[in-house]
């Protein structure tokens, strides 16, 4: 009886990969644990082992094939004497109809195509006619760090697996080769310690970039982020600054449950002395990262694992920076203002598309930085549309949306035709089960419902 070998999912967010190399050929006998092939994901090249034993009857996907979807049959194992071609013909699950593996829970985000998102910014951060290239958020972040490390000898990168492993999420790919072990420093698993050490090195004249494998682990280090990095300039009467970037993926990834799925945007945005950045697009990731590294203050740079692999147009410029405190209007509209940031923009933009089909015109604003916040752009928009919905993945209590609601109420009360509604993650620890996780996150449907509520449709 023939057994199909399916393209494996090798990370929580992997949807497709490259079949780099076959290590077996048709006719070979394999047993459980033998290495069949090398699979390249967006993060790493991994060896793929046989689970079943048998004879490699047919290789269905040739070595070097890119974009092989997870769960696509890539080979067929047959038993002694079995006809491989017949086995293939009778194989029950052709690639296209293969049931999706655990459907990526933050469905709207994870399922979005990797095709470049058309940049609809109304106030571009680069001159008109600038040449653009498609880049993933991951590549944009890497380039930003490499450019700034080239520009300033005192900039260095420190964190777990940033050097020899090339980054747990491959953000620091190639930096060790380019800059050497002095400037790309692998640390032991010791977040509290290395965060404090990096802050001390900033006091001592360096400009560290500290990668947290995820911001969940930065809770071990939060005393140094807040008490040592954010407050020292003030406590020293302006003498002792701390130019440092704390960066890494933040918020829910996919199916990693409560301890690895928290959005810290509102936490850090509360702290005077910190600057907080949460980009959505690749061009903003690049331009804001360069600004963050140059900033003389501690900067929290909140990335998102699901966005790492998404492609956007990035301007081809020698030195592209995006200023802090300037929101980006992704889509102009007249009926309602949707304010979001980071991965929340995925839901905001998707909702705006669907609402447009129903004749509701939504203006979509990406805050890009949460400290400072570009209140002016939000207020101007709300004064025009008279309605506002905020969207974020974080928890509802003391959320960024709560803060914006208060600010809008205080400063534009007479312009409001409806209460400001906040779409947030649910007030629960993140569950593991796929269906529960999907509901714990904010959804596009909720954004649409909120917009309909404030527009009385």
């Amino acid at each position: 009886m023939a057994t199909e070998v399916l393209m494996p999912a090798l990370s929580p967010t992997m949807e497709e990969g490259t079949l780099a190399k076959w290590l077996v050929k048709e006719g070979d006998t394999v047993s459980s644990g033998d290495i069949l092939a090398e699979i390249e994901t967006d993060k790493a090249t991994m060896e793929f082992e046989a689970v079943d034993e048998g004879i490699v009857g047919k290789i269905l996907v040739a070595a070097g094939t890119e974009g092989v979807k997870v769960n696509t049959p890539i080979a067929v194992l047959v038993e002694e004497g079995e006809d491989a071609d017949a086995a293939v013909a009778s194989a029950p699950a052709p690639a296209a109809e293969a049931p999706a593996p655990a459907p990526a829970p933050s469905a709207p985000a994870a399922a979005a195509p990797a095709a470049p998102v058309a940049s609809a910014t109304l106030e571009p951060d680069y001159p008109e006619g600038t040449e653009m290239k498609s880049q993933t958020v991951r590549e944009a972040l890497r380039d930003a760090m490499a450019e700034e490390m080239t520009r300033d000898e005192t900039v260095y990168l420190m964190g777990e697996e940033v050097a020899e492993y090339q980054g747990a999420y491959k953000i620091s790919q190639g930096l060790l080769d380019q800059f050497g072990a002095k400037r790309v420093v692998d640390t032991p698993i010791t977040e509290h310690g290395f965060a404090g050490l990096a802050v001390g090195s900033a006091f001592g004249g360096l400009r560290p970039i500290v990668e947290f494998m995820t911001f969940n682990f930065a809770m071990q280090a939060i005393d140094h982020i807040i008490n040592s990095a954010a407050k020292t300039l003030y406590m020293s009467g302006g003498q002792m600054g701390c130019p440092i970037v704390f960066r890494g993926p933040n918020g829910a990834a996919a199916r990693v449950a409560a301890q690895h799925s928290q959005d810290y945007a509102a936490w850090y945005a509360q702290i005077p002395g910190l600057k907080v950045v949460m980009p959505y697009s690749a061009s903003d990731a690049k331009g804001l990262m360069k600004t963050a590294i140059r900033d003389p203050n501690p900067v929290i740079f909140l990335e998102n694992e699901i966005l790492y692999g998404r492609s956007f147009d990035v301007p081809v410029l020698d030195d592209y920076t995006v200023p802090f405190g300037k929101a980006r209007i992704w889509r102009e509209g007249t009926d309602v203002t949707i304010v979001s940031f980071g991965i929340g923009m995925t839901y905001a933009l998707e909702a705006a598309d669907k609402l447009a089909e129903e004749g509701i015109s939504a203006e979509v604003i990406d805050l890009r930085t949460l400290r400072p916040i570009d209140y002016d752009t939000v207020l101007a928009s709300v004064m025009k549309t008279n309605r506002c919905v905020t969207v974020e993945e974080g928890w509802p209590v003391a959320s960024i949306g709560n803060h914006l609601s208060s600010y809008i109420m205080t400063n534009a009360f007479d312009y409001l035709d409806a209460p400001v509604l906040n779409c947030t993650g649910k007030d629960v620890p993140m569950p593991y089960a796929a269906n529960l996780e999907k509901h714990a996150l904010v959804t596009t449907a909720e954004v649409i419902d909120a917009v309909k509520a404030v527009t009385y449709r």
Binding site: P188, S201, S236, M240, P296
Partner: protein, 336 residues
């Protein structure tokens, strides 16, 4: 308490001994005055005095060179005076005035001086340990040959981040001297009640870090140990640990009733082991100074402290606009 003393006649010059005497006396008189101003309500909040521990920082500083760095906890007034910071600026910070080192915004526990390479003044127990290793990381990165003195107490010695730092400091050969000021009590908890192994410096052995115990009531012993540690670090051999056995005469802070130890214990230490009295006796017995000469120094120190106290009362409170300054830097600092 270690009771090793320098028994043989020390090979030390008159000038050197007088210097230690002056430096230690300045700290003691300054702290006594601070205690007095606290009682008068001129100093608020927490105020942790260094009285009794003077020989530790004075002995360590004796081996420091220009450009070497130091960082400590919140019991920091002595460290600032010992590295040459102006007593007026320190006292005015204690009173929360514009003329203080942090313009009145830091207080007793949070003061800094880039000029003197003093990196605080940190209020979270143990936090200064990785910060100090980070200063050393920067020095190694910049290849400037400097060392960092990172001070912490027997209480901080039980914080996890200390051991995270030991590991990295030894892994990366950082030029940092970890100075454990073991004054026997972490607030009200004695070392015996908080720590299973009585030797704190020996914990470094688990990380391969060399170290030793030092009699912290003997400034010459501290200086000798400091020279050894500095030489070790400056030669690129990585970190070094000095556990300096000392004793604080006053409470943990101004509001400490000190019920955890007997008055006799404190009294015995003051009478038999006082570090300042020790140097005073060396000066007199070695015929380096007369009683009258020492009295003249006492008077000189008293004047400096009184002047600092006057300044700290006369300096105005910070302008209200200061509330909103120094939250963000506009330009890159030049810290190194």
């Amino acid at each position: 308490m270690a009771t090793r003393r320098t028994t043989k006649k020390p090979n030390v010059s008159k000038e050197e001994l007088l210097g230690y005497y002056r430096d230690m006396l300045l700290i003691r008189r300054f702290e006594e005055k601070a205690g007095q101003l606290y009682g008068m309500g001129l100093i608020g909040g927490f105020c942790h005095l260094y009285i009794g521990q003077e020989a530790v920082v004075v002995g360590l500083e004796a081996a420091a060179e220009e450009g070497d760095k130091r960082i400590t906890s919140y019991r920091d007034h002595g460290h600032m005076l010992a590295c040459g910071m102006d007593p007026k600026g320190v006292m005015a910070e204690l009173t929360g005035r514009e003329g203080g080192y942090s313009k009145g915004k830091g207080g007793s526990m949070h003061m800094f001086s880039k000029e003197k390479h003093f990196y605080g003044g940190h209020g979270i127990v143990g936090a200064q340990v990785p910060l100090g290793a980070g200063l050393a990381f920067a020095d190694k990165y910049l290849e400037n040959g400097r060392v960092t003195f990172t001070y912490f107490g027997d209480g901080a010695a039980n914080q996890g981040q200390v051991y995270e730092t030991y590991n990295m400091a030894q892994l990366w050969d950082l030029p940092v001297i970890f100075v454990i000021e073991n004054n026997q009590y972490a607030m009200g908890t004695s070392v015996a009640r908080s720590t299973k192994s009585p030797s704190l410096w020996e914990r470094g052995a688990a990380y391969g870090i060399a170290g030793e115990e030092v009699d912290g009531m003997d400034v010459l012993a501290v200086k000798a140990a400091s020279e050894k540690a500095v030489a070790h670090c400056r030669a690129g051999n990585g970190p070094y640990i000095l556990e300096v056995k000392t004793y604080r005469y006053r409470g943990h802070s101004m509001s400490d009733p000190a019920k955890y130890r007997t008055r006799e214990e404190v009294q015995k230490m003051r009478e038999e082991r006082d570090a300042i009295e020790h140097v005073r006796q060396l000066l007199l017995s070695g015929k380096h100074a007369t009683e009258d000469e020492l009295k003249a120094i006492d008077k000189e120190i008293k004047d400096i402290v009184n002047e600092a106290a006057e300044f700290s009362k006369e300096s105005p409170e910070p302008a209200l606009e200061e509330l909103w300054t120094d939250i963000y830097a506009e330009t890159a600092p030049q810290n190194a």
